[in-house]
Amino acid sequence: MSIGYMGWAKLVDARVLPTGGGFGAAPEPIYSSAALGLGWRNAGVGKYALNVVKYEGSLDIDIDDGGSWTTIASWCYMQRVSPIAVTISPDNATVFTYTSVYNTSLSVSTGQGNLVSASLGGLSFSRAETAGVSYLANINGIGCPSGNPIPYWATTATLGGSTGSTIEWSVDVTQNTLPIYACAGSRTPYAVLQGQMDASASITLYSESGASGGGIDTESTFGVSITGVGGLSLPRTLIESDSYDISDPNSAVYRTISVKGLAKCDAGNEAPCTIT
């Protein structure tokens, strides 16, 4: 038995501030659909073959200024075709060690009153598991991370052409990860490929004199800066939705704009979302 405060997580060697999630096992056996001569009382799937064992899910964290962002930027953007090592302990009793985790998605967001948080999607095909530390042993574990969380007010987000103060923002990246399973006499996947990066972002604006969306049908740049950490940029976006609706009598009226990030294919190619 344990309590949530005992858990911890590392991306390579960088401690993060985990708030939930993990990479659970998804064996997905291949079940037979054959008729087996079963009667009505005992009828059910009776035959199967084992499949690839994979571990997938997402790790939710608060972004910190202790250096983990560099690892995240590399894992999700600069070196997105390469896996990294991840270590997660949900209770400081059991430790899951993943030597090769591919990034499948990244979501970063914040809004008034909140910390900057992220959800990191991952896919691994191996996991080592150790257990043994008791809750009653009052083990201090691996200590506190060096970094501190980042508040919403320490960020800026802008959408080219728009006006108004940013109330909240989010950036979502999907890697379209594609494992290749081959008929090669082994349960291990042949390869893991990263598909096209899909990127999208959302920004909520407020202005006493009316927030402007910058115009639909027009390409613009979306950018986020996180003080002391880095930033995210969607260098070429198109508006997919623009909501500026009547609000609750006791609520402020906001304008929320969602954009899709496009690959920049001119003299200087750029990804739909760059992370620095």
């Binding site: 037979s32 659909s33 009667g39 073959a49 084992l50 499949n51 399973y181 008929c183 006499g185």
Partner: protein
């Protein structure tokens, strides 16, 4: 009402992971091309429909589909080489139903693809069948054959020499020809002779690597299919969807069976 789980299948002496098929009976008509001629007249009920016809010997041609297991693979790979002898097929679709007969195979196919079990089918020419309708109600709790049926084989427990294949398919085919004779009978007679034509084998697959080889070995669980004199028939390396792997599509024709078993 009976549901599919009550059924089971046996190919040769091996209990199969049957997923479909049976031994159908179909009537063969010998139709005159003369037609009725003349003109249409009332009342409508006197208008003839169809052509002058007489019925010939029935056909019991059908197919069975299965997920491959070791026992069934042993039977069908043996049958592929033992072409002059028949294979017994037993299919039960519901309690009490019986469909069985001895058949000569027209085609045998096996295939595997990522994420799936190895599946196969056997198309056949039959010379008769024993048939009993059986019950359509849920009255029994099974016949205890479940434990006799071998386990399915996953795609990853197969292999193809010369490349890393995401999927593959192999088809054996041969014509089974009936010869009927004119013996002045007053009722249709069964075929006088049955003969099988030349066997042909076609391999096709989707590979990650380029493949060029004059031999081919396919592993399916503990079974091995080995061929020589393999000739490339079709090779395609095309642009694909941005989120799909770039692969090579291959069709090759073996002209020698080294071993099956």
């Amino acid at each position: 009402m009976a549901l599919g789980y009550e059924g089971w299948m046996k190919i040769g002496d091996a209990y199969a992971l049957g997923t479909g098929g049976g031994i159908p009976e179909s009537e063969t008509k010998l139709e005159s091309s003369s037609g009725y001629g003349g003109q249409i007249k009332a009342p409508i009920g006197e208008i003839g429909i169809g052509s002058p016809r007489i019925y010939d010997w029935q056909k019991w041609d059908g197919s069975v589909d299965f997920e491959a297991n070791d026992g069934v693979l042993g039977v069908i790979l043996g049958a592929a080489l033992d072409r002059q002898n028949s294979v017994s097929i037993f299919v039960k679709t519901r309690q009490g139903n019986i469909q069985q007969g001895s058949v000569f195979w027209n085609s045998i196919s096996l295939q595997a693809s990522q994420g799936s079990l190895v599946t196969g089918s056997l198309d056949f020419t039959g010379l008769g069948r024993e048939y009993a309708y059986g019950l359509w109600e849920q009255t029994s709790n099974g016949e205890g054959v479940c434990q006799l049926i071998g386990d399915p084989i996953p795609y990853w427990n197969t292999s193809v020499s010369g490349g890393t294949f995401l999927s593959w398919n192999i088809d054996f085919s041969q014509d089974v020809v009936r010869f009927f004779t004119c013996e002045n009978n007053i009722v249709p007679v069964e075929p006088k002779f049955l003969a099988v034509g030349p066997m042909s084998i076609v391999f096709s697959g989707i590979s990650i690597e380029n493949v060029s080889s004059s031999s081919l070995t396919i592993g399916v669980g503990s079974r091995t299919l080995s061929f020589g004199k393999v000739e490339m028939q079709n090779h395609q390396d095309t642009l694909v969807d941005p989120n799909a792997p770039v692969v090579i599509s291959i069709e090759a024709h073996p002209y020698e069976i080294v071993s099956l078993g």
